[in-house]
């Protein structure tokens, strides 16, 4: 596979975020919410760690990522530029990969300022680097998987609001699925827990980098990627 076309599309989408107010609004909202959750408990626990921040991250990303990705296909379908895009010499998988990577890169850029939380924690106490590194790696993987889900939701409809809600439902389900399991028999519980994104994110953000968790996020992204490519090819 040639990566030139996906990367060109990714660059275009990413710079598209920053030439309109979307990027600045989303990043501001994200930083305000996560900043508040981080600092409101930081001095209470009197421990140099980012647990409060990472604990809440899957839930916050469930809202933020679909808001970022909702326009990626819906807007093109709505304005008709989709026809132009698909008659350029690009394949459906080039287009989907480019857009998905743009979403993931946006999440990475959005997370970058939160490194200052880690820095401030390290300044006031002795910060254990393991959970921080694991947490950021997990956050990037989670961002990739949620972006893929959001891009899939966006390919279903030409209405951005619908795309946002569908994406939100997918991401929230993945995040919260293991919170509703108390009434199920135990063997089923662990199977369903394994499907939840939050479970894997918790593992990885403890600083234990297990290949199973990485495989989980990558396969989630792959499934959504394939589904989106199918959606584009089925438009006929």
């Amino acid at each position: 596979m040639n990566f030139k076309q996906p990367l060109t599309i990714m660059r275009k989408e990413l710079s598209g975020y920053f030439t309109t107010p979307i990027a600045y609004i989303v990043i501001t909202v994200f930083l305000v919410i996560t900043g508040w959750f981080f600092f409101s408990t930081f001095f209470l626990y009197n421990q140099a760690e980012l647990r409060g921040f990472f604990q809440l991250l899957p839930l916050v990303l469930s809202f933020v990522v679909p808001a970022v990705t909702m326009r990626l296909f819906s807007e093109e379908k709505h304005s008709g530029s989709f026809e132009i895009l698909m008659t350029l010499p690009v394949s459906a998988s080039d287009v989907v990969l480019g857009k998905l990577l743009a979403g993931a890169a946006f999440v990475a850029l959005m997370l970058a300022p939160t490194l200052s939380y880690a820095v401030s924690a390290a300044l006031v106490g002795s910060l254990d680097p393991g959970p921080v590194i694991g947490g950021y790696l997990g956050a990037l993987l989670l961002g990739l998987a949620f972006s893929a889900a959001g891009v899939f939701a966006s390919s279903l409809t030409r209405n951005q609001i619908v795309a946002f809600i569908v994406g939100l439902v997918i991401c929230l389900t993945l995040t919260l699925i293991d919170k509703f399991l108390f009434f199920l028999p135990a063997p089923l519980q662990s199977a369903i827990e394994y499907m939840g994104a939050d479970f894997h994110f918790r593992n990885i953000s403890r600083g234990i980098i297990d290949s199973r968790d990485i495989v989980y996020f990558l396969s989630l992204a792959a499934v959504a990627f394939i589904g989106t490519v199918r959606m584009l090819e089925e438009r006929r």
């Binding site: 076309q5 275009k12 304005s79 530029s81 026809e83 008659t87 690009v90």
Partner: protein
């Protein structure tokens, strides 16, 4: 260059394109002409690999559209109807984006294409801020960015003012000297003004396919007269005129002044004017008007796309 063999396309039960076949040769400007909803856009979308045909074969150059879509897309420059470009992108950024997807992202090409399409002064504006005429030109620039062998334009002049239409047509003619151009339109004068060849489609079928000049001369033989006379009632007028040798048909026309009026069509090259005048004079009516027009492409189009009835 392009060959379309027995191609059909369905939307559910609706047959948008019904078993059409045609061949487009290198270096021609071909007009795809038809009323709205005839299947022009669907046909173009199949040529450009946006929609796959449900039946039949389309090949562009040596490539089949469903087997090698990327090769086909590389050969074609396509501008969809009403140029749906990214509104919040700057013209320059947009063209260099298209250029890099097309593999031609050098600045000199960007400069040349901007000069050719006359968009040099709007390169730093957002596409959404442009007037319709400029947007259409940016669309043309987008389609010609990679200097394609085939240029496909869907209703390139729709929504433009008369001056812009003339400019765009001039540009298309200029391009057509070197390239193969296919454009769709429902405006006849556009075909007469720009195209070497015309394919008329209606209800998804091809009803005519010939050189523009041939179609015109085929149409040009017949003569139409509009006759208005006082003192006659319509049925009498019709029967008298229909009796004249060389008259093919007589149809009623409305008249605001209370005159009897009819449209008379002659056969072939016959000049029916003296006989019509004589018929009116001999009946004792007063002839108020007798206007002549040669049959134009417009009449041919109406006849072909309305199942034979000519209602002008």
């Amino acid at each position: 260059m392009i060959s379309v063999n027995n191609v059909s396309k369905f939307y559910g039960d609706f047959r948008a394109v019904n078993d059409i076949s045609f061949v487009i040769r290198r270096g021609e400007i071909t007009g795809l002409l038809g009323p709205n909803g005839a299947g022009k856009t669907t046909t173009l979308r199949m040529l450009t690999c946006y929609l796959p045909p449900d039946a039949g074969r389309i090949s562009v150059g040596d490539h089949l559209v469903d087997a090698e879509p990327l090769e086909v897309k590389r050969m074609i420059g396509y501008l969809p109807e009403s140029a749906p470009l990214y509104a919040d992108m700057m013209v320059r950024d947009y063209l260099s984006y298209v250029g890099s997807l097309r593999g031609v992202d050098d600045d000199s090409r960007l400069h040349d294409i901007a000069a050719m399409c006359g968009i040099g002064e709007v390169m730093h504006k957002n596409i959404g801020e442009l007037s319709k005429g400029y947007r259409q030109r940016v669309g043309l620039a987008h389609a010609m960015m990679h200097d394609p062998e085939i240029l496909i334009l869907d209703e390139p002049t729709s929504g433009l003012d008369p001056n812009q239409i003339v400019e765009i047509r001039k540009l298309i003619k200029e391009i057509g000297k070197k390239k193969t151009v296919i454009l769709s339109t429902h405006i006849l004068s556009e075909v007469e003004a720009t195209c070497d060849r015309v394919i008329i489609i209606d209800h998804g079928r091809i009803v005519a396919d010939s050189r523009t000049a041939e179609l015109k001369s085929a149409a040009g033989g017949a003569m139409r007269l509009t006759v208005r006379a006082k003192g006659a009632d319509f049925s009498l007028l019709t029967s008298r005129l229909a009796d004249i040798p060389g008259v093919q048909s007589v149809e009623p026309l409305d008249d605001a002044e209370g005159l009897a009026a009819a449209a008379v069509r002659g056969e072939g090259g016959a000049d029916i004017r003296p006989a019509v005048f004589a018929a009116v004079r001999d009946s004792g009516w007063e002839l108020y008007e007798m206007a002549t027009e040669r049959e134009t492409l417009e009449h041919v189009f109406r006849r072909l796309t309305r199942g034979g009835e000519d209602e002008l």
